[in-house]
Amino acid sequence: MPDLVDELKFRDPVRARALSEALAREVDAAGRTITLMHVCGSHEQAIARFGLRATFPRRLDIIMGPGCPVCVTDTPEVDEAVALALQGATVCTYGDMLRLPGTRRSLADAQGEGAKVEVVYGVSQAVDLARSRPGEQVVFFASGFETTAVATAAVLLSGVPENFSVLSAHKYVPAAMDLVSTLPETNVEGFIAAGHAAIITGWGIFEPFAARTRTPVVVAGFEPLDVLAAVLELVRLVRAGRPEVVNCYPRCVSREGNRPAQEKLWKVFDVVGGNWRGIAAVPRGNLELRPEWDSVNARRRFTIDTAAVGGASHNLLAEHCICGRIMSGLAKPSDCTLFGGECRPESPVGACMVSSEGSCKIWHVYGGPPDLSEVA
């Protein structure tokens, strides 16, 4: 067992308890409810996995923002992948994307109908697959934020076989925070920023945001102590009225980030506007291949017949979806007219029902907000 990066150091229950107690005192001293938001699915995973939510003070509200790039991937994007698969291409994608619903089908459904869909660990594996099957068109349905997009970019820059192309559903992190902060009624007082995206972009990217919105931002890692320390620090910044950016993940994140990776990213991708599932049109929300990469862009290379898979120009149900308001902390799942009816875990409309840790999914499975305070 390596002792230096012994991740257990960041799971030490004694330190965790000290941090939790300090957090409780801090929130108590504030004498009011403090609302924070994280914009990173992995933070929700960490909070859920380690049971941290049950340890948070009652008057601390930590909202799960639109921080899961898979969940906000929109129905028409899935339709494109499904159409390509049903048109005969081999579609490779990350495991998270397989069950994401399109208008009529997910990729898993298409697979059930005989389409070639492969789950890969990484984009390199998809390229290897293309090399081993020269007679097939292999399309990589790419998802993830900047961190993952860099991997896609690196692979394209190092050369890919002629039968390989990319269908980008990559999303851009700063857009998620901008989105929430521009909502006039938002009561979010501080943001926990995604640590792994910041490895690439650097924590400096959040400084203009903090200054413009007068909202503090703390960059956090994903171990229990990382999350607890970051939340404590953020509550302190909120109480002190200091709209600063604090890096609580210094072992991985620097101010300037990974410059060569940024260069790779912007050589291949452009930031464009796009629709996020259940939320809205998000300016600067998507990462699309730049025009000089048209030859490997599946949207340019193929005629994608999404009408054939039932894709409509807009999703009627989505008009009633209030995921945007739920993720912004302005509404509860039970406020949504679709909740439990048209929108269910097996046929989700919005992002909050897709994600395993999404508020709607959790409320649906457990019949309301889970409260473990009375369990012995």
Binding site: A22, S124, T147, A229, N258
Partner: protein, 102 residues
């Protein structure tokens, strides 16, 4: 958003483009074309989707823990100050109402 796991470099390929990395008991080959610092055998790196995205300097692990302790200490300091204020309030020497309501 992004799953990232630390591991330790066991060997580096001859062309320097990839490394065998040990993740606490299982091994995986990672590509090295994203990482921004030179790495060598024994270094710790963070993996995301098969790419090393960051070298984790061992000394910064300790620094992270020091930072957490510092945050704790600062919070405790705030808390002591708050105790003082509460004490003063209880003694009627200071009027409440500075804090905005919930």
């Amino acid at each position: 958003m992004c799953l990232g796991v630390p591991g330790r470099i066991l060997s580096i390929s001859e062309d320097g483009m990839s490394a065998q990395v040990d993740f606490f008991g299982v091994r995986k080959e990672l590509r090295l074309d994203i990482i921004d610092t030179p790495v060598q055998v024994g270094d710790y790196v963070l993996n995301h989707v098969g790419f090393a995205i960051r070298r984790i300097p061992p000394e910064e692990v300790g620094e992270t823990l020091a930072l957490f302790d510092q945050i704790l200490k600062a919070a405790a300091h705030d808390d002591l100050m708050a105790e003082d204020v509460r004490g003063e309030m209880a003694a009627g020497r200071s009027s409440p109402g500075g804090e905005p309501g919930a």
